[in-house]
Amino acid sequence: MEYAIEIEELSKKFGDFTAVSNINLNIEKGEIFGLLGPNGAGKTTIIKTLATLLQPTSGFAEVWHHNILKEQDAVRRSIGIVFQDPSVDTELTGRENLDFHARMYGLNREERERRINEVFDLVELNDRAKVFVKFYSGGMQRRLEIARGLMHYPKVLFLDEPTLGLDAQTRRRVWAYVKRLNKEEKVTVVLTTHYMEEADYLCDRVAIIDHGKIIALDKPNNLKNAIGEDIISLRVSDGGNFSDMLSKFEFIKEMKLHDDFLFLSVENGEKMIPRIMHLAHEDGVFVHSVSLRKPTLEDVFLHFTGRTIREQEASAKEQNRMKAKASMRMGGKR
């Protein structure tokens, strides 16, 4: 297997604080890979280390077969990056921002012209090219940054929380662009997110990160399947009888009765619903309502850490704020 990124025993400490702890990870060429975890889990630190903006405390990594410690120049040429916080010059137009980027990467005039039009097409900002970025909406700025990350034909594109702070509609659009550029530009995408549905929808594989460690790594579906079955909940007219009847069947792993509500743990829930409906009909039980709940990555996170990602986030945000304050007092040196 050809790897786009190989990470070996990578660690990064800020003073006493361990942001990333002995991570081993291989990311395949051409995949969309997600680093999923709460804020402060170390996702951004991993990306910045891979992008040569931070030096690892120990361990090493290769990006597109270039050592991040010894071949910074080659690494930088192979990657594009979209940062979590805005990083465009709002006093320039969209086109000027891309032009700046292209010149810094040494593209000649002809290449610049062609490529700028190409990436503007990709994120559908052509009509905004000559407008100052300060007049862009948040979503447009994000798209411009994605376009800029692609300007120099990177092999690997890092997206750090690409849809943070965007509304649901814009988020969908950004997802569509990411899928499209992955397919059309054949670029390997590594993204961080703390949105479960984003990782689920976009990523071929996901690593769940908590406290600087990888706690689970697989395809989203495998992760979800690994932690348990689907839950079918039914509201029925005669719960007691029906549950006795159902207990004979092996395909029901677990059953709970709560007033009129019956909760069944099954595999492949969507296939089991018709069968259960049929059984209810034969038994003369009337079904008022039925719903199916598939485990989400949120459940996966809960399974591995014992808490939900949102609880975790609240406390991490608090910590981050304290850290930021402390570092500002020290003059921002870390």
């Binding site: 903006l53 930088r76 805005p86």
Partner: protein
Amino acid sequence: MKLIDFTAIYTIWLREMKRFFRARSRLIGSLAMPLFFLVFLGMGFNAAFKFSDMPPGIDYIAFLAPGIIGMVLLFNSITSGMSVIWDRQFGFLKEIMVTPVSRVSIALGKTLGGMTTALLQGFLILLIAVGIGFKITGVLGLLSSVICMILIATSFVCLGLIFASIINDMQGFHLIVSLFTFPIFILSSALFPLEQLPLWLKYLTYINPLTYGVDGLRYSLIGMAHFSLTLDLFVLVCFCAFMICLSTYFFRSVEVN
């Protein structure tokens, strides 16, 4: 990674130029104070008293004009380091730092950009001074004054860049900058001749690099000098080279979060 990447230096310079020419209000604002100095301070002192040792035909406004040009260069050069702080604040510094361009080239691009903007502002003041009756000795003098201006601007842009490399917030930067600029300005012979000063004060002005800058400008523009132009240029070139090295050294340690 090429240490000196001319395309990148030009790119960074080009961006600084675009930003400079788009912020006209800032340009006008930055020229207002030196104009007040030149016109009102100049006329005020001109009318009130005559400095002794002033060669015939040179009044206070003529004496002051090169000093004010020096002041404009000093203030605008040092504050051009702000652009690094702005870039950091608005995230653009990350975009620059992640490109395959050496830190030295980035620092040189920033220096060149700051130098050009300071130079343009110095020139504007010179034009305005000529407009209100300031007489230049000749073309050769104008040429050597431009060399002085470039050296002054470059040196102090580098000083601003050093401050910006070690200070992260704007307030801190402004504080440090004004802490440095005012003594450098006041003790530079920009406002008064050095001849009559008490000895200890004279020595203070002698260790101030801007003294040689203003002296060089004054010799070039009105033919009056405390030192020789050769000494002025020698000191300026040495100081400038030293500052370029120092600023690139400091800029290499810049981290982006």
